[in-house]
Amino acid sequence: MVKLHIYDYIVIFLYFSGVLASGIWFGRYTKSTKDFFLGGQRFSWWLVAVSCVATLVGSYSFLTYSELGYTSGLSSTVYYTNDWFILPIFMLGWLPIIYFSRVLSIPEYFGRRFDDKTRLAALCIIMLYLVGYIGINLHTIGKGFQGIFGDPGASVELLGFIFAKDSLILYGSAIGVGLFSIMYMHHGGQTSVIMTDLLQGFLLIGAGFLVFGLGIYHLGGFGNWLSSMPMDHKLPFPHYNTPNGFHAIGAFWSDAITASIGFYCMNQGILMRFMSVKSVRDGKKAICVVILVFMPIAAIAVSNAGWLGTALVAKGEIPADTPVSKMFVVVSYMVSSPGIFGFVIAALIAALMSTLDTLINAVSAIAVNDIWRPYISPGKDDKYYLRMARYFALSATGVGMLLVPIYNQFDLIMEGFTLVMALLTPSMVVVITLAIVWKRFTANAAFTTLVLGFAVTASSFVFPWMIEFIDHGVNLAAHESGAVAEGQYVPYVHMRAFFGTVASLVIAIVTTFLTKHSEQEETKGLTMASIDDAKRSYKGGEPSEEGTDVKLHLTLEVGEGDVAHLSTEDMEKLCAKPGDILFVADPRAWLGGLRSIQVKAGEPHDKPSVIRLSENLIDLGSLHLDKEKVTVEKLL
């Protein structure tokens, strides 16, 4: 029986207070809808990278990957170490295109690249995707709390009604944590999200490794832990095509390809995170560090409770019939002492809130930029849309909460989540990829692919035989291993994503050749072949990357106008000309660009080592005149 100590409650209380205080504190940097959604395009790569990890690691991660770690061993890391294949799509195509074209949302990109009907279809799918993501995170935090406070079969009387105690904990904790996330996100938007996610990213990785370290110590050393695992639990990949719920082929197609492209290119929250970075160069650095360094570290942090569980069950310290969904809570409780367990629970909540705040912010961005501003209430001032964004943040959480009972129907957390994502992502992933790589891809083909691709993927739930011809023997292997009765179709938890991707790709290619292709104007700056056009449009002139490695430390003085004035000498050092985009920041690198501004260079003056900005620009960048220096870089 898991029971929280008073020290645990104190740690959890301190965590909540810290997140709320930092969220509200950093919210004061939000002055417009651009700040609310994009954080002002000023953050350094490392800040975005760490906060990105907190977004990637949801509350479901600890519970789900501990389940997988327990049932399959070290191969549970496969989901966090297979994203590199799709990186060129994001890094060389999607990121520069969305950054330089200044789109505020993915449906907006579809509207510009294709037409309004395609934008609407994309809007519906992305909203379902994001709300589905919110729902799974709320559901898992409820499951986590059930593992701590739950008592199957017990009932509680509340306001004259009798409730099952487990259900009350599930829904109560989902609602409670959801509302808390809104409190700070509602106030400060993207800036609050990034800064609180920075804190929460360190917390959740730290807690994961703390459990691992304590567990290894509890087992008497690394060698004891490793020797308790069967050989196939030590391999980096699961079996080729069995069992049905987790196999290498499924993990590759549903996660490495479809879900990864979906996550990095279709997730509005991730798009906004990378739009908040100070330059595309910093964005590329951030994504490389996330996938190459932080994801493998996170894989260990979220999975190790399951690996330890295998050893603890083998030693007889944990009953073999312990539900796998409770493995994370049971193991971390066993190896922790009072106060430490509170820290672990705080990390679980951190994982939820850091993902939830991003998703809520993303939903409100789409609701305002793609529905409210263009169609419902156009032409209002920025403060009005900022207020509406905050109302939509509240509504998104409410809708996500309604999904909790649906996810609760599934035995395994990952199963429900994968089924929903396998339905929503394939057609979008194909359309996004072809939109950026293939100029010939037409608006009608994109719309048909979104609608028909979704419909064909959905129909495979009713007619699973459609998947059989590309299932890599998953069905046959499942039958041979006795996982399903003869004549009964395996639900293809993972292979549906592959089927949907292949079907959508065929639909896209065929309809492109059957329909009239778009004119040049519709693709300019919105495909890989025209990234230079996007740069020209972003800068308002010819792009120049010469001198972008130079960083100057200059004295800030008050000037006039909406441009920055540097001396002729400093302009030469930066290889800058009037019209080039500069980045002016507080010299304290640890602020990560929190006090900074992007500004165009104006005509030079003759006072060396001095930069002149208007009071308005100094205020927008939250820069201090009393500080001696600012750093100045050329971006483009």
Binding site: P88, Y240, A248, K284, C288, M528, T548
Partner: protein, 73 residues
């Protein structure tokens, strides 16, 4: 024709499948970026980007291969 594939132990099949199919997608996108000039070899930044991408691919392939070898040797 696929005799060699059948003769591979399952744990190598998974690795070969992932890095062959994944590698095709990965290198096709790099080729496409070079062809469309989204990646320019004349730019120092782009050359560094390309080196990083290839390093990452080799890094993950190396880690997974050595890991599999050490467990199964």
């Amino acid at each position: 024709m696929f005799g060699w594939w059948q003769s591979l132990p399952e744990y190598w099949q998974t690795l070969v499948y992932q890095y062959t199919v994944g590698g095709c997608i990965f290198f096709f996108m790099i080729f496409w970026a070079l062809k469309t000039k989204a990646l320019k070899m004349s730019s120092k930044q782009d050359r560094n980007t390309l080196k990083t991408l290839i390093f990452g691919f080799v890094f993950f392939l190396g880690v997974h291969s050595i890991w599999t070898y050490l467990v199964t040797k």
